[in-house]
Symmetry: C2
Subunit: 343 residues, 2 copies
């Protein structure tokens, strides 16, 4: 093997508003020269790519220093990925090793230094897509939000938005394992069913069918809300702040309802004053700041997966061509569970 | 002395929007029978009353369970006060003792149980109004916000809104004592001068003269904001969230710009997503939840006052008649420092 044809997605224009589509990206084919891998580097064949909402925040072109840096135009998009080493000039990796890469190019093949690669242990007997969900960014984000920031006590009332999404799915299950009552909101009746039947949520509702979110939360939280893992922001956060209990905690993982708008067009939250009267703590977080806890997380989550006490659901898109569609699906409530592209 | 005439303010109607005025209250005169003080109780002559923004939140009539309970109509308003014991049927207090009372009626004279009374030590040599400011609710609120919740490190950039008000005045000085760079916003040029010349702020600005708060904060915080003690909410909070550094802390003491509006008319904060990208922690608080720290606070603050390392400024209104005007003044930027009524 000297060179391989590789399809990859490059970002061709920024998308300040609306959903990114195929019009903003280009699928190009190039040759990856496997024989000229530099010393200390490896060549990788991508197996799976993780499609997460934060990718969208790197495509706005609005570099304000307040979120992740923007993807450069006309370069290959990057995402969390899993791949197989097909050529190695590193002493740490052998051909055949399966590795995770938080900065994987959205490409079928690539060469890379080994700085951020992490070997997957085949003896663990865990399905590869789980390394992008329960054991990947979404699982870790759920674990930080629930265990580290919210620190739930048994019997507390926990609300999760985007509950059938990559993060929400695990957040609710982790809170249940802590003895909480957990309710989730999601965007379809099928997903309401999924939350209750598969993920053990005590209750769930389809926010698209609720004309009055305040009324909905009053119904689902007769004793108020102690913990809200916010994945959506906007009107839902406002409704939560009308229903919080004293010393409620709101870890903010993301605000997917707001990503497709420039900030001055976003929905303003008008009742932050309730944070004073109810002494609420709201805290935004990025998983990258908690890497010192990744080992603890892996140990705990692998245990849960092996015991079957945490379940996972993946929406698998097939083929490199499906990347833009898989990304768009995050904003349309059209899928269950963690969105993954399989190559 | 058998009975004394006492003037007192009762709330006659709630004020959901706008500033409370004399039209919403009635000054009535009644007789307080000093000879019939019940066992374990004392009769008190009020000397000073503390006029604080939170009083306004108890006059809206909107009992939503999210803030303090509403004052009952046609009953005497209560506030933090200092008084002198004029009759005692309690073993713990003697005639002549000066006491603080967090639930003092806004009345010249009253009888009360002794549960919440706390003796002022005349040997400390501290002016009585200081027990309502540096050593009272505002000083304690500033101390909790800065020392307990924000925990500043030397060199951090601290922003205080309503900086010349009861809380802001002390918050800025406490942050300076921690080695921070401190900038305040306030509502008049005189108060800007006061902050810089009396309270040792590194810089200050008159927000009424800034047409663009984002531009103002960019100018005053070239290295961004690490700590914001929020006393005002609304547009100022939004501007701060456009200028925060990673891991910024925002203790929320109050939101005076928002008190005179019903919640759905308040200014929405549209850029909470910056809390994720910058991993900001925002936390509302009420001093009543930190009473276990009151001793630590008193020890530290008395030390600062005796050494002259914390200064205090009081705007003293005279006579019971001035109570509504003193309350209204909180919302018009028309006074410096802590608002107090002296009887």
């Amino acid at each position: 093997m000297e060179a391989v044809r590789s399809k990859e997605w490059v970002l061709t224009s920024y998308v300040p508003e609306g959903t990114p589509t195929m019009e903003h990206m280009k699928l190009r084919s190039c040759e990856v020269s496997v024989d000229s891998v530099p010393d200390g580097h490896v060549a990788i064949q991508t197996l799976y790519l993780s499609v997460d909402p934060y990718l969208r925040t790197r495509m706005t072109g609005l570099e304000d220093g307040l979120y992740f840096p923007q993807f450069p135009l006309n370069q290959v998009i990057t995402a969390f990925g899993i791949g197989r080493v097909i050529k190695s000039l590193s002493g740490d990796f052998r051909v055949g090793d399966v590795v995770t890469n938080p900065f994987s190019p959205v490409a079928e093949y690539y060469t890379t230094s080994c700085n951020f690669l992490r070997k997957v242990d085949p003896a663990a007997g865990i399905d590869l897509p789980c390394y992008l969900s329960a054991l990947g960014v979404p699982g870790f984000a759920a674990w930080i939000g629930i265990q580290v920031l919210a620190n739930p006590k048994p019997g507390e009332n926990v609300f999760i938005s985007a509950a059938a999404g990559g993060v929400g799915m695990f957040a609710g299950q982790l809170a249940k394992l802590k003895g909480c009552r957990v309710v989730g909101s999601t965007g379809s009746d099928d997903k309401v069913k999924l939350l209750k039947e598969e993920f053990g949520y005590d209750d769930a509702f389809n926010y698209k069918k609720e004309s009055d979110l305040d009324a909905a939360l009053t119904r689902y939280f007769p004793s108020g809300i102690d913990i809200y893992l916010d994945n959506v922001g906007g009107k839902m956060l406002e409704a939560v702040l009308n229903r919080v209990n004293t010393h409620a905690r709101i870890p903010v993982c993301g605000m997917i309802s707001q990503y497709n708008k420039v900030w001055s067009d976003r929905e303003g939250v008008r009742n932050l004053l309730n944070m004073v009267g109810k002494e609420v703590r709201m805290e935004g977080y990025l998983v990258g700041s908690y890497l010192d806890r990744f080992g603890d997380f892996m140990t705990e989550m692998e245990g849960h997966l092996k015991q079957g006490s945490i379940r996972s659901k993946h929406k698998i898109y097939k083929g490199m061509e499906s990347f833009p569609e898989s990304l768009g699906s995050l904003f349309s409530s059209s899928n269950d569970g963690k969105v993954i592209v399989q190559l």
